[in-house]
Symmetry: C2
Subunit: 205 residues, 2 copies
């Protein structure tokens, strides 16, 4: 059969629907029926295309992860100066999360649900974050005396935390700080500047 014509192929419709549902509800929260509805087909057909929920889930997430994490690793492992590296990391990460606001929550969710399976199967060996070079770079800068004495580990944690956490805790942030959707988006946009500035102010001599 050839098909693949005017409207999206059924497979494509399923993937789009599944992505939407998985991203918002997580693996366990997602219902096969919801995905079928979202794709405008029936449940049996879902299983016809993707044997079961796990297979479908894997398909979705792998696609997403294998696009994003390599980009982050490239930044971590590149040879650019520390401050610029921090700026690029924050910029890239927040850009991604502005486009896929549910991604970080989704990742954490899956990690908590089944750490072994998720971290191995989905991050495989290539996608796994590799902060080693970044940590060494910080240590070198400290030794050169170009920045204050600071623990590379804590600096990395601070960087990750400030970048990712607001997206993970978004409903809490919005509620407790009185932000609507648009304002939240704007604040996150500001953070692309604010976070690097905050960090650099803290560690520069």
């Amino acid at each position: 059969m050839v098909k693949k014509s005017i409207d999206l192929s059924t497979e494509e419709k399923i993937l789009q629907g599944a992505r939407k549902v998985f991203m918002t509800k997580g693996m366990t929260g997602a219902r096969m029926q919801d995905i079928a509805d979202e794709a405008g087909i029936n449940k049996s057909l879902l299983h016809y295309y993707f044997r079961d929920k796990d297979k479908l889930f894997e398909m979705i997430f792998l696609k997403e992860a294998q696009k994003f994490f390599p980009r982050i690793n490239m930044i971590f492992e590149s040879g650019i100066p520390l401050f610029e590296k921090i700026q690029r990391f924050v910029h890239e990460y927040i850009d991604e999360m502005q486009q896929n606001p549910y991604l970080p929550w989704f990742v954490l969710n899956e990690i908590h649900r089944d750490p072994e399976n998720f971290l191995y199967k989905v991050w495989g060996k290539d996608n796994l974050p590799r902060p080693q070079k970044f940590l060494e770079q910080i240590e070198q800068e400290v030794k050169k005396g170009t920045i204050k004495r600071i623990s590379p580990l804590h600096l990395l944690m601070n960087l990750l935390s400030m970048t990712i956490f607001p997206f993970v805790a978004r409903p809490m942030m919005e509620r407790n700080l009185g932000l609507d959707e648009l304002q939240f988006r704007a604040v996150m946009e500001q953070r692309k500047q604010e976070i690097p500035k905050f960090i650099i102010d803290s560690i520069k001599k």
Copy 2:
């Protein structure tokens, strides 16, 4: 009947078991059977003491939340100097999370699952975080010129993020940074000093 003697009362056993199961698996993940097993009783008795899952859940979480959040609010709203306030906040918060490592994840989980119900019912009106005074204090310090010009909102976000995120993303942190349980605990203990230092270095003039 009087009983209430040697071993814990059944009610107490249930509450302890429920707490453990809810904290690790969240509301939806928790099974009534698991809770019964954990308490060493059977499912019927569970429903005899607590009408249904929701009631039991509320009982557990309210107890936990109403102990902790008022303490945090007291710090935010107290009259102590900014830098000291930051130190106390971090110290108190990390202490709590060292004792209840699953609490932050648990809170986020429930917020995502059902924001309206959770935020209202559980935080009620008294437990709700009230960062207003803290934000104003930052603004005053900026105006007085005692700290650098910084957005109070972003500073608060940074503070919360750096303090809470590592606990929320714990499995990821441990795996990607190669920390075992003990090392993680030690690193978090260091953060009680590191975070305030990092912030103060960034904003002091």
